[in-house]
Symmetry: C2
Subunit: 145 residues, 2 copies
DNA sequence: CCAGTTTTTAGACAAAGTCCAGATCACGCG
DNA sequence: CGCGTGATCTGGACTTTGTCTAAAAACTGG
């Protein structure tokens, strides 16, 4: 866990530093992808990223986008959010926090960690170690009965 | 939420009652599928169910299994568990509870609700209503360094 | 500039799940 | 009973997300 990073579009230099700071070689494609991810607080699917990166001109292939998102997640630069059976979301916010997930709209919203307390987290079974806790509050649109 | 149901293999009659009690027409295929789901406390993917149902002789098609699992979940007979990007698990236990998920093995384990307290659940955004809370503790196998 | 490593790429592939149109089944009714 | 109607089931085509592979390109340290 780390401090919530600033969420203004980042300069080329800032993005480069972000990658190198996480032991990631800053290649052209990775920079492009990181730019998209960190442009603002948002939750993008791999396909969203692919489309945005190649919006105007081709900048990265599908394989590279998938590889890069996996790499970023493994290095702790972004976080995978698994709430929708059909696709993974990637969250540039790696601070401890949780999510509302609107099952009607597919919308995903952050919940600050300090707005929700978890007590008595049970210890992981022997032979295993905790890797993270996800709390998802599923919501629906109110029935306009 | 309801009381944890017994988890011994159920009689034909018990399964029928379970379905009718949830407003589900007890057809032959639905009974077969329910038998598999409620045979014991377990977490099965759609494909697991499909295989088990048709183990010896063909009893239900893929489409029916998917439809039926969706129907059961919509009627509150079982619960969808979304922890693995590649497939949905179905949990016959509809009591309030949470999960350990071993990302190395894909194993899914129950955590009784009373072993973990959630405080200060934030209210859903206006226009929406809560539909359920999922808590997933991701675990890894301990490195045998 | 060269050799070796890392990264990127197009496109084939795989797995989970959905959709469809026709066949089948179930049930109330005459 | 036999019928008609609506619900259910089915195989198979299809879609979507994501993975794999083998070769091309780029980058690195000498």
């Amino acid at each position: 866990m780390q401090k919530r990073p600033p969420r203004q579009p980042l300069s080329q230099q800032q993005v480069t530093d972000l990658l190198t700071g996480h032991d990631i070689q800053p290649t052209q494609q990775r920079l492009e992808i990181a730019q998209v991810l960190f442009a603002r607080d948002q939750h993008l699917s791999a396909d969203d990223v692919l489309k945005q990166v190649n919006q105007d001109t081709a900048r990265a292939s599908k394989a590279t986008v998938y590889n890069t998102l996996g790499l970023f997640a493994a290095k702790g630069l972004i976080r995978e959010v698994i709430v929708d059976p059909s696709r993974v979301f990637y969250d540039p916010n790696t601070c401890e926090h949780h999510h509302f997930y609107n099952v009607d709209t597919g919308e995903l919203m952050d919940i600050d960690a300090d707005r929700l307390a978890l007590m008595n987290l049970p210890a992981p079974p022997t032979g295993t170690v905790a890797d993270g806790v996800d709390v998802i509050i599923r919501i629906r649109n109110q029935a306009t009965a």
